[in-house]
Symmetry: C2
Subunit: 345 residues, 2 copies
DNA sequence: CTGTTAGCGCCTTCAG
DNA sequence: CTGAAGGCGCTAACAG
């Protein structure tokens, strides 16, 4: 039924290994037979069986992408964008991709390790700040390269052997602080997320924010750092109804995620406040929705195209056996000034 | 290095086929050896090699999902949500999933067929209204079940052998028309997308819309049916600047996608119009952003949870060899009344 | 440059 | 109920 290299071999009058060589562009065949065999293969609509190939060569032409499990698709918008870019990049390299959820938080199945041990993937792109060192060590023992992107465990940032691409959260926070302070804000709030062990991106943002404010002699009071369970739109909106005091004590807020900032703005608007006249709101991430609403959101742009593209190309390079120029990359965020913050005082 | 069933066999003092039987819960082994062998396998952290398994049993425990290629991630928001739900469903069934792009429009590679012929997937979930009958026939010849979800080719709706799950676009349009007319609107506009061969979802929506209006003795003039190249936010916003005449001749509009409707509202607002007081805008899809903006968008809800969940479970059922109750399902949309439309006249 | 031989890890016959 | 043998489709190691 299905056409195999043996069928091609018969038709071409050569042995199957020769066919294999032709198809894989081995230099060990004459240009002539190579062309002829490939011609025949094309005519017969030959498609190599990936399982057979994977079994003997350990190459599957598939890579695994591990993302955090998000019940609410809201929080995964950003990750979806990265995913899409990754998929396009991999497609250009004739690679498929299997997306699986990171189980490191829920103590569920370890899909990263499973995919590798099952021999389903050649490499891994991982967005997780909670993956354990043990898992990565196990991954390395299997001889499968993996690269962290976007979300990087704190321990991985220290180890020179770990590969990762993310952006400078400290600098992002700094840009936000420096900008808000430059507008004249002196008493600001900050809304972040309850963090788990090993995640330092949000603490970095806060530290950077403080540093940015300090340039203008300002700072955030501890009591003005709020923590949400999730940085979702709903959470942001709800928060707006419970911070009457905060609104009087501060003139603006820095949210660690656009989604929550947008919900917050909506909440304030429903109370009759005018943004930014009455209160300045700054976000983080630069999601698409940021300019759909009114006022358009001032925020920090994460270099998402670069993060996903770089991560994918690094992995491709590793799989080709090439050495990487840089194995750990911290990209720079940029300030995006729109309409949700204004001068104060 | 890697532990195989032979290793387990040695440790357990049985032959490897026996180990295989134990692991696959074959009834041909005694309960006792089954337990013992499984125990040992667990201790040795055995993970079956999927390539080997796939090679001889033609089961990969992976399914392929084919989605239209969207350069702009904006348009894929809806599909991303469906995808996420599918992934969760498949995960519950211990299945991985490979997402690939539909090449039927760009005459690119036919990933659906490739994945199947490569033996990378056990089944296919396809969101495409442009896939050819030939491709599906070829798929069937390979013995791999496939199910269309959300986007279904017009030809497939006719053939009883094709499996699909989508929703009733005609009824969605009808609900919109009936509602707007009931609010007193008599002169309405409709914004749709340039459609390609084989796609009838949008013509269905328009036909339903007309039918809904007719109940109240109204209709849409041909000149008031506008066509955009893409139903994106930007396109909707741009449109708002070019329809001064339309705004005078009509009192409201029905967009065939929320994204474009939201952009349109934003565009009108920037001209100083107040929605819905000055003009009513209705969307379609019920995307999340619909209630993030002001005014919150009145729209038609597509039963997306049901579509993706049903499609996935139908495929699982088929793979288990079960017969399907219903192989073609048209689900019902619902009207979501929010704040972007008001009474007129 | 090409053909022969072997084997990847597993499942599926077949004997016993 | 269990073991022995064979083969899935392909690539890799040798010969020639």
């Amino acid at each position: 039924m299905k056409v195999t290299i043996k069928d091609i071999a018969k038709r071409a009058g050569v042995s199957h290994p020769t066919v294999s060589r032709c198809l894989n562009n081995s230099p060990l065949v004459s240009e002539e037979t190579r062309k002829r065999v490939r011609q025949i293969a094309a005519e017969m609509h030959y498609v190599p069986n990936q399982n057979a190939r994977g079994l003997c060569s350990n190459r599957t032409d598939t890579i695994g992408v591990i993302v955090p499990f998000c019940q609410v698709s809201e929080t995964s918008l950003f990750l979806d964008e990265l995913l899409q870019q990754i998929r396009v990049m991999l497609g250009k390299n004739q690679m498929d991709c299997i997306v699986a959820y990171d189980g490191s938080r829920q103590e569920q199945e370890n899909h990263a390790l499973r995919l590798v041990r099952q021999g389903k993937v050649d490499g891994l792109l991982i967005a997780s700040s909670t993956m354990s060192r043990e898992t990565v060590t196990a991954l390395e023992e299997e001889g499968v390269p993996s690269i962290f992107y976007h979300l990087v465990p704190a321990w991985a940032e220290e180890e020179t052997s770990t590969l990762w691409v993310h952006h400078d959260n400290y600098r992002g926070g700094f840009l936000a602080g420096e900008y808000l302070a430059s507008l004249g804000h002196r008493r600001l709030a900050c809304v972040t997320v309850a963090h788990y062990a090993g995640e330092k991106e949000f603490t970095d943002r806060l530290a950077g924010f403080q540093a940015g404010l300090q340039i203008h002699g300002s700072s955030v009071a501890k009591s003005h750092v709020l923590t949400l369970k999730e940085l979702t739109w709903e959470a942001g909106k709800q928060l707006a109804g419970k911070v009457a005091g905060l609104l009087k004590e501060t003139s603006g807020v820095f949210f660690h995620a656009d989604q929550a900032a947008l919900g917050f703005i909506k909440g304030l608007q429903e109370q009759g406040l005018v943004i930014p006249r009455d209160y300045s709101v700054m976000g983080y991430d630069d999601i698409r929705e940021g300019f759909m609403t009114s006022p358009e959101l001032t925020t920090i742009h994460q270099p998402r195209e670069a993060i996903s593209t770089l991560a994918a190309s690094m992995l491709m390079e590793r799989l080709k056996g090439g050495k990487l120029q840089a194995s750990q990359q911290t990209l720079n965020p940029t300030l995006v000034v729109r309409k949700s913050c204004c001068t104060h005082g």
